[in-house]
């Protein structure tokens, strides 16, 4: 009787879990395993896949473009994430300080976040275009000539990062604002009574208290931004001279342009390792300073 009950209880629970576990297994775990297998194969699009041992891996380590795409991807994250966090934090503090019009500003600032990154990137062609881009209209008025933001090896990646800052600022602003507004008020009153000015309160109370928010935000932003693809695909397609070629861009190209899925699988595996390594590093860094 008792055993029957336990059995039924387990059965019920797994019935509830069954659809989720089925799709999770089929479309996430299984592709993950095939990914590892495919790193040792070549072909497969037109002809059956052939086992080639460690050839893809040897090529990965010898290919300078692999290192370059990893560095580009990390470089992109180092530009986009701190920039969007600082901007969002400033906006959040400003929103927190005002009362009249707060909702209206929140809505307007959040609006770009709703757009697909692809549409944001397309819109940026209208901001950056040498002939009719609105930013270049401004540049012509200020410095006398337009700037070729995307055709310049030095400027191209910061420009791509700017798309992410524009699109992401609303999301992070609201998230940081929610964090700020959940902080205990008493602490601030006490600090004020002790004579702490606004700067002191910000650096010694707000920032340290928001650390858990920053921790999760940084990890989440890193996982998402290390996969950067859409904006690069639209704005530069990896150029000029591969200066904006991200790892995901290289994965996509190795499947569709170079017709080398095995090599693309190896690059994908490298991407997984980079993501895991960087998120682990961040967890470690945040814990160290706790």
């Amino acid at each position: 009787m008792r055993r029957n009950y336990v059995l039924r209880r387990n059965l019920t629970a797994y019935l509830f879990l069954a659809p989720a576990l089925f799709f999770f297994g089929t479309f996430l775990v299984w592709p993950g395993i095939s990914l590892l297998v495919q790193t040792f194969q070549t072909g497969g699009v037109m002809s059956p896949a052939v086992f080639v041992g460690t050839r893809n891996w040897e090529r990965t380590f010898a290919d300078p473009l692999v290192l370059k795409t990893i560095w580009n991807t990390v470089r992109y994250c180092l530009m986009a994430i701190p920039a969007v966090f600082v901007v969002a934090m400033l906006f959040a503090l400003a929103l927190n300080a005002v009362s009249v019009g707060q909702t209206a500003f929140k809505t307007i600032i959040y609006y770009p976040t709703l757009q697909p990154i692809l549409v944001a990137a397309l819109m940026f062609t209208f901001v950056l275009h040498q002939d009719f881009g609105v930013l270049n209209v401004l540049m012509r008025a200020v410095i006398g000539e337009p700037v070729n933001f995307l055709g310049n090896e030095v400027l191209a990646m910061p420009t791509i990062a700017m798309v992410e800052v524009w699109k992401g600022m609303g999301f992070w602003t609201l998230l940081f604002l929610a964090g700020i507004q959940s902080l205990p008020r008493d602490l601030y009153h006490a600090a004020e009574l002790d004579g702490a000015g606004p700067w002191q309160r910000f650096f010694q109370l707000t920032l340290p208290l928001l650390k858990p928010t920053f921790f999760f935000s940084a990890i989440f932003a890193t996982i998402v931004n290390l996969q950067v693809f859409d904006s690069i695909f639209i704005l530069t397609d990896g150029g000029p001279f591969h200066s904006t070629a991200s790892t995901t861009w290289y994965i996509y190209r190795s499947l569709f342009t170079f017709n080398e899925p095995g090599y693309g699988a190896t690059l994908s595996f490298v991407l997984v390792l980079v993501v895991l390594a960087l998120t682990a590093l961040q967890s470690y860094a945040f814990r160290e300073r706790a």
Binding site: F23, G32, A97, Y110, V119, F126, L255, G264
Partner: protein, 276 residues
């Protein structure tokens, strides 16, 4: 932290917010302006923000000569299918993880949670072959089924269910209600706001998705909006007027959704703030 801000701080805040608002909105206004100009006047300098003569040709061309309406319909069909299926699947799993006891519960949670950190972009090549071998390449199912695998939503809904009092379930069980009835008649109505947040999150994720549809769908008329619009740029001579019209129209459905369900969109940010 709402101490009374000083006057200069207030002024600085409004100044900053004004800049933020301009930066957020100007690109939208600029493509609106571009979309109602013919391409020739686009290149005139200084640019006219409001053209003397409104030109509707870009919109007419977009609706008549491209598959824009198809792309929109596809996006909505796929997005709604995914949202409905995912809500059902995730809510069931969330209920089991939140309120049922079973062997291996911690292991199941841990495995699902670990997978959240796997970058989906890294799986497009094996997914491409899997979907191809299933014969689903170029079908809506190629877009729908893989989207159901992401376990993040389970944890979102779990956090809503965990906070419900256990007594509620105990008394229902004593009354002889089965687990499925409890789930449908008691749990689901009580977590309705969580379900709306999850639905918005899922739909938005699908609406903005680009890489996977780009890989999985080759037939132009079956494409979703994002990839369809991107394909307008690949013509040899780029029709900027057409692209600006397409970009602007693509923002409308999501804007309407946002205006209708605004408080849940904000809640989405809020709940992610609490849980990461």
């Amino acid at each position: 932290m709402s101490l009374q801000p000083t006057r200069p701080m207030m002024a600085a805040s409004y100044g900053l917010l004004a800049i933020a608002a301009v930066v957020s909105i100007v690109p939208f206004l600029y493509i609106l302006s571009t979309s109602i100009k013919d391409t020739r006047s686009l290149f005139s300098y200084p640019p006219e923000w409001i053209p003397d003569q409104v030109f509707w040709g870009n919109y007419a061309k977009l609706l008549q000569e491209t598959s824009f309406l198809n792309w929109t319909a596809n996006t909505f069909m796929v997005g709604i299918m995914i949202t409905v299926l995912k809500l059902a699947i995730d809510a069931m799993a969330a209920y089991a993880l939140a309120k049922l006891d079973f062997v291996g519960k911690r292991a199941v949670s841990a495995v699902l949670l670990t997978a959240v950190a796997i970058p989906v972009a890294a799986l497009i090549i094996p997914l491409f072959f899997l979907v191809r071998d299933m014969g689903l390449l170029n079908t809506y199912w190629a877009l729908i089924l893989p989207a159901l695998a992401n376990p993040l939503g389970i944890f979102l809904l779990r956090s809503f269910i965990v906070s419900l009092p256990d007594d509620l379930l105990h008394s229902a069980r004593l009354d002889g209600a089965g687990e499925f009835r409890i789930f449908v008649q008691i749990i689901l109505p009580l977590i309705s706001s969580g379900l709306v947040v999850h639905a918005i999150f899922t739909f938005m994720l699908q609406y903005t998705n680009f890489l996977w549809p780009l890989v999985a769908i080759q037939t132009e008329s079956r494409q979703v909006l994002t990839v369809g619009i991107a394909s307008l740029k690949s013509n040899f001579v780029v029709d900027w007027g057409l692209i600006s019209a397409a970009s602007l129209l693509a923002t409308i459905p999501i804007t309407l959704l946002f205006l209708a369900l605004q408080r849940f969109f904000m809640a989405q940010s809020l709940s992610s703030a609490l849980k990461g």
